[in-house]
Amino acid sequence: MKRQVPLLITFTVGAVLILSTFFPPVETMGEDFSLYFDIIAVFAFFLGGGNLIRVNSDAIAKKKKGWGFSMVTMAGFFIMLAAGLLKLWNPGGIRGDVAGTGSMFQLLYDWIFNPLGATMYALLAFYVASASYRAFRAKNRDATILLVAAFIILLGRTPLGVYATSWIPESFSILQIPNLAIWIMSSPNLAGQRAIMIGIALGVVSMSLRLILGVERTYLGVDSE
């Protein structure tokens, strides 16, 4: 019972979705299933949110290392919920638009959520530089090709590249860095992208079949029944 039914569900749902693309009357079934998923995801959030609260309140109760920071997380979580669900400090009141101008929810978004997200994203500028410094060593032929291609594209996409090779005569204009960069992007890069995309699609096909046929079932955790 615990094992057969889930595998049966996966099989029927998967097979129905695959076949539905070939029969217009049920063509849009894939769309409806994605709506069901969105609803399941919201219900599941209670498990996630519940775990976040339990882990942090546990840390506070047992005064584990860094329990002060758990208090900060809990405070942030509940303030945001209050500002969003109960629309506290929201000029429109309970009827108002949740992210209406001037609402606490919008303020928290603009002053805290947005700058933190943008700054974490901006850390990538530092990490890209340190990764280039450390990893781009011409230690073998593959790494050298990767380094040379990155070098040309890096130069080609900035005015820097224009300076460096503007002296090359018009007849060999392909050798000018910007044109070379464009050629690399549209030929070898295109070929590599295609090979990877075709590979991925075939990997997805084989994985999906393994899942639907129940050959791969570790996600259900049913190894030993």
């Binding site: 949110g49 590979g199 096909v205």
Partner: protein, 407 residues
């Protein structure tokens, strides 16, 4: 069956006048010569049901008006529709000069329609006679996708064949995948150093096949972790991934005969927000200093933040994703990287079960099919372009037809 009227009767005359005015104003700028003289109407208008849809589309074709010769005689075509037997024609769309096809998308199934096309010129419209009646029907099977169905069937059949074929115990040769061979070494290192393993299943939810691939690999990794009694730490950014991962790890510990060693806190929900999750994982990495980091699933911009921080604490890093844009970062910053397809092959590769390995062989069939089509297609296209030869032209058209999807 009465013809269903559009719910907004007063709107249609306004649209008609407005469209007419727009054309009138546009045509004022046409050369002086064409003003006032009417043009020949389009001929033999044919309406037909759009094949293989839910009956909500109808096609209209017509022969171009003889004055449509690019010298600003005809400035476009307007398509009108009316219910069968009624004279109340409504404008449903416009077509550019030179076009002789129009797809009417908001028709109702089972309702009869007739069409009429007007060639528009600066002086006005010259109407064609009314087309045949058409009743858009729902077709059960979309035959346009026949080639997709056959090729898909072929590959699925090859995967299934090799899965069942493998059951008979034939040894299948599968090439070594560096990233997967390194898993034992990576976990061994964690045992020596007595430090935890960090497993990141990507930031997408269970509705992404890359996350499912990550979870299936987790099943194998967790089994080894249970055997060697190392601590596994798995912060996740999605609730369903949390419950699935707990289920998988609990089973791995049960399978290793140590059900009591498992506890739910190994898998912890952090936040759904991409960069909030990355900030928390960076904190965990720097504070708990895991010996080995696994990044297996769907990753986006945050891939390099994780990989560089993991590198700064000296951990062995094994990454795998099917996001082409993120692969270069993992290749640059991690010790081993599973490139696209290798992520999906990982669970089969690690299981070493014949039927799982069989599916990899099926994938190779798909690749060889793609390679054969590319060879035939390219050669036949080159020859047919270079020296003609009806066979090659037919061949290159055929290969092109079977590999493109007409929708």
């Amino acid at each position: 069956m009465t013809v269903t009227r559009k719910s907004k009767p007063f709107l249609t005359p306004i649209i008609l006048v407005l469209v007419f005015l727009v054309f009138l104003s546009a045509s004022l700028f046409a050369q002086e010569t064409a003003s006032g003289i009417s043009v020949a109407p389009p001929a033999n208008v044919v309406a037909s049901d759009f094949n293989y849809d839910r009956g909500e589309q109808a096609e209209v074709r017509w022969k171009l008006s003889s004055d449509d010769n690019g010298s600003a005689g005809v400035i476009g075509y307007e398509i009108f529709r009316a219910g069968v037997g009624s004279e109340d024609f409504v404008s449903v769309g416009l077509a550019l000069p030179g076009e002789s096809y129009f797809l009417d998308k908001d028709v109702q199934k089972g309702v009869g329609y007739v069409y009429k096309v007007a060639a528009l010129y600066s002086g006005g419209q010259s109407f064609s006679d009314v087309s045949n009646a058409v009743i858009p029907e729902l077709e059960m099977i979309n035959w346009n996708l026949l080639n997709l169905f056959i090729i898909g069937l072929l590959i699925a059949a090859s995967v299934i064949y090799f899965i069942s074929h493998a059951k008979k115990g034939r040894k299948l040769f599968i090439r070594k995948i560096a990233g997967l061979e390194a898993i034992d070494e990576a976990i061994g290192r964690a045992t020596e150093m007595g430090r935890p393993i960090l497993f990141i299943p990507g930031i997408n939810d269970m509705d992404d096949v890359q996350t499912i691939a990550g979870i299936t690999i987790l099943g194998r990794v967790a089994r080894m972790v249970a055997d060697y009694d190392i601590k596994i730490n798995m912060p996740v950014s999605r609730s369903i991934v949390m419950t699935t991962a707990r289920e998988t790890i609990k089973e791995a510990y049960a399978g290793a005969g140590r059900p009591d060693a498992y506890n739910d806190d190994m898998v912890r929900y952090v936040t759904d927000e991409q960069f909030g999750y990355v900030a928390a994982v960076d904190g965990i990495m720097v504070r708990e200093k895991p010996a080995t980091c696994f990044y297996l699933g769907a990753f986006f911009a945050e891939s390099l933040i994780l990989a560089e921080t993991g590198n700064s604490i000296g951990a062995i890093q094994i990454a795998g994703t099917a996001q082409p844009a993120q692969l270069p970062f993992f290749v640059a910053a991690c010790d081993y990287t599973l490139i696209g397809e290798e992520l999906f092959a990982a669970s089969a590769y690690l299981s070493n079960e014949p039927k799982q390995l069989g599916s990899l062989k099926g994938q190779d069939i798909g690749k060889s099919l793609a390679m054969i089509i590319i060879i035939i297609g390219v050669i036949s296209a080159t020859i047919s372009r270079a020296w003609g030869g009806s066979f090659f032209i037919w061949l290159s058209e055929f290969v092109n037809k079977i590999s493109t999807i007409q929708n």
